[in-house]
């Protein structure tokens, strides 16, 4: 059985993140439980980026000099690493600036197709067609589809969420999967893991159901890529999007993985240099993927940094990371369950669930909870976490979210729980 990290292993992991040893708020040790928003960057990724800039920096895919060759090799090497990380082919990996851009890239492929840039019927949307999403989506996998529906006349539909915080596939509270995923559905976009609830969705089952009705699937893998082994072929989705900065890499680089044959059928999103085949004053033809989707100068150093982060994660072993975070999640959920004034929003048990744990303290606003934790050095996220409709579903404006990563320790979970105990004292809530 795969086990959590031993204290010595954990100390070694933490040594790769010097920021974790700093203090905040007048000398209190930092307890960083906000990796769901952005993780800390691994020292290997930072060193790789610096070495790229100091030693090989040049325009990638341009120029005939040695630096340009080396920069291109580093950039394409990072692409190969990311492809290996998700189980895809190299030319199926598109570097973007973040996952939001990746998701927009796919959404715009549909409306650009309507505008006549491509003729593939799978990418052609109009009145009578449907786009299916879920109520637990991050705004990044919600607003682009709303906008696509508005531009094309297609109808946006969504799967609800149960009280426990799972997708309401059986239709307990409204229409279920069988009613929502039909021949009319052209695209089904859903998250692998909810950034609020921590719920892990049954991706294989959903992708198979979509395939049966001929709908394309778009997976938001932002909250799974750093925590669970990710194999796009095994999951059976058509697209997957994730961000470098949530998986120990830098900001400024995101990934879209797409099935090669589909990427080849897609029109470009952003146009300009680097993505062309031939340009005449009258018209332009486009390069093959992935270059077709990488217009302009890329964030090369960041992509190379992500490659290093992925290498590090691979060496660490995603199965070990999963096991480690699972143990911490159980500890955190058990601690919260002992506090009757706390209501966890999301599954109460650590089953098909990762360590993004959102909760509500009865009678105290999340901003105030977060402030009390911050005063004791504990960094969490407060607010709607870019999932406003989901919060509305649970009748709350905002929640406090602790989110765990590979470098967190059982002592940090305890520190967070004790810090939380100050909240009822300060705000006079009956315990």
């Amino acid at each position: 059985m795969t086990t959590a990290f031993e204290p010595q292993e954990l100390a070694r992991i933490r040594a790769g993140f010097p920021i974790l040893s700093r203090t905040v708020r007048d000398g209190k040790p930092l307890v960083y439980l906000d990796s769901g928003a952005t993780s800390q960057r691994h020292a290997g990724a930072l060193a790789t980026m610096r070495a790229f800039d100091e030693e090989v920096n040049a325009a990638v895919h341009r120029g005939a000099h040695q630096l340009s060759e080396e920069a291109t090799d580093a950039y394409e090497g990072a692409r190969a690493k990311v492809a290996g990380f998700v189980g895809g082919a190299e030319d199926e990996v598109v570097f973007t600036k973040n996952a939001t851009e990746s998701l927009n890239l796919v959404a715009y492929a549909f409306s650009n197709s309507v505008a006549g840039q491509a003729k593939d019927p799978r990418l052609t949307l109009g009145e009578g067609d449907e786009i299916l999403i879920t109520e637990m989506e991050h705004h990044a996998n919600l607003v682009p589809w709303q906008e696509l529906a508005r531009r094309t006349g297609a109808t946006l539909r969504w799967i609800g969420v149960t009280d426990e915080g799972r997708l309401d596939l059986a239709g307990q509270h409204g229409p279920g999967l069988a009613d929502l995923l039909t021949e009319r559905t052209k695209v089904f976009a859903f998250t692998h893991v909810s950034n609020v609830l921590g719920t892990v969705n049954p991706v294989r089952e959903l992708a198979e159901a979509a395939r049966a009705v001929g709908a394309l699937t778009v997976l938001d893998a932002c909250q799974s890529a750093p925590h669970l082994p990710l194999d796009v072929a095994d999951l059976g989705v058509d697209f997957a999007a994730f961000s470098g900065h949530k998986m120990y890499g830098p900001t400024g680089v995101g990934v879209l993985w797409g099935r090669g044959e589909l990427l080849a059928a897609m029109p470009p999103f952003i146009t300009g240099g680097s993505m062309i085949e031939t340009v005449r004053m009258e018209a332009t033809t486009y390069a093959a993927p992935p270059q077709r989707f990488e217009a302009g100068s890329p964030n090369a150093a960041q992509a190379v940094g992500l490659g290093a982060a992925v290498d590090w994660l691979g060496e660490l072993g995603l199965d070990r990371v999963t096991a480690h975070e699972h143990a911490l999640t159980e500890q955190l959920l058990a601690g919260l369950a002992e506090r009757p004034w706390v209501r966890v929003v999301g599954p109460a048990e650590a089953v098909d669930r990762v360590g993004a744990v959102a909760f509500d303290v009865e009678g105290v606003h999340a901003h105030d909870v977060g402030q009390v934790l911050d005063d004791q050095g504990v960094a969490v996220r407060v607010g709607h976490h870019c999932a406003w409709p989901l919060h509305r579903r649970f009748g709350v404006t905002a929640t406090t979210r602790a989110s765990l990563a590979a470098y967190n320790t059982p002592q940090e979970v305890d520190a967070m729980l004790s810090a939380l105990d100050r909240v009822p004292d300060i705000f006079g809530v009956a315990v």
């Binding site: 105290v364 999340a366 105030d368 402030q371």
Partner: protein, 155 residues
């Protein structure tokens, strides 16, 4: 924590002048998009221009202790005052809140508002304390009784 003064906690638990009341000249709805906090606020004024008297401020707020308490103190400090006086109070509150701890606030001008001096050291919370005030100045503008420009009201 110096942020949570007793006065703030008191106001947030038992907000003064809370609830929406009839007989108003303007109603506005303001939202803090980062946290989803909301306030619906109504003003009832008598007279014209800066000399108009604020007869009532009623509101329905959903938010953290800072934003709730701020709305409560706002109502306390402006009801019964002229628009000119209310705008002076607003300006003094805003100056204190955005001073990063340098301006302790003048109790003669902002009353219980001085309890919010600690907020200015927490940049992420300044918006919470200003939400009600932004709604208020916007409402005055919409009621047409103030020389406050739309830009100032939105600031």
């Amino acid at each position: 924590m110096d942020l949570y003064q007793e006065l703030i906690l008191e106001h947030s638990k038992r907000p003064h002048h809370a609830g929406l009341r009839d007989g108003f000249d303007a109603e506005v709805h303001h939202v803090n998009p980062t946290c989803g906090d909301e306030v619906t606020l109504r003003v009832h004024v008598d007279g014209e221009g800066d000399d108009a008297v604020i007869r009532d401020v009623s509101y329905d707020a959903l938010g953290c202790s800072i934003s709730m308490a701020s709305a409560s103190v706002l109502a306390d400090e402006v009801i019964g005052h002229t628009v000119a006086e209310a705008l002076t109070t607003h300006e003094a509150m805003r100056a204190m809140l955005t001073s990063k701890g340098a301006d302790p606030g003048d109790e003669d001008v902002i009353g219980d508002g001085v309890a919010f001096a600690g907020v200015s050291k927490y940049p992420a919370r300044v918006k919470c304390a200003l939400l009600g005030w932004m709604a208020f100045t916007d409402a005055l503008h919409q009621a047409g009784v103030t020389s406050v420009s739309k830009e100032e009201a939105a600031r």
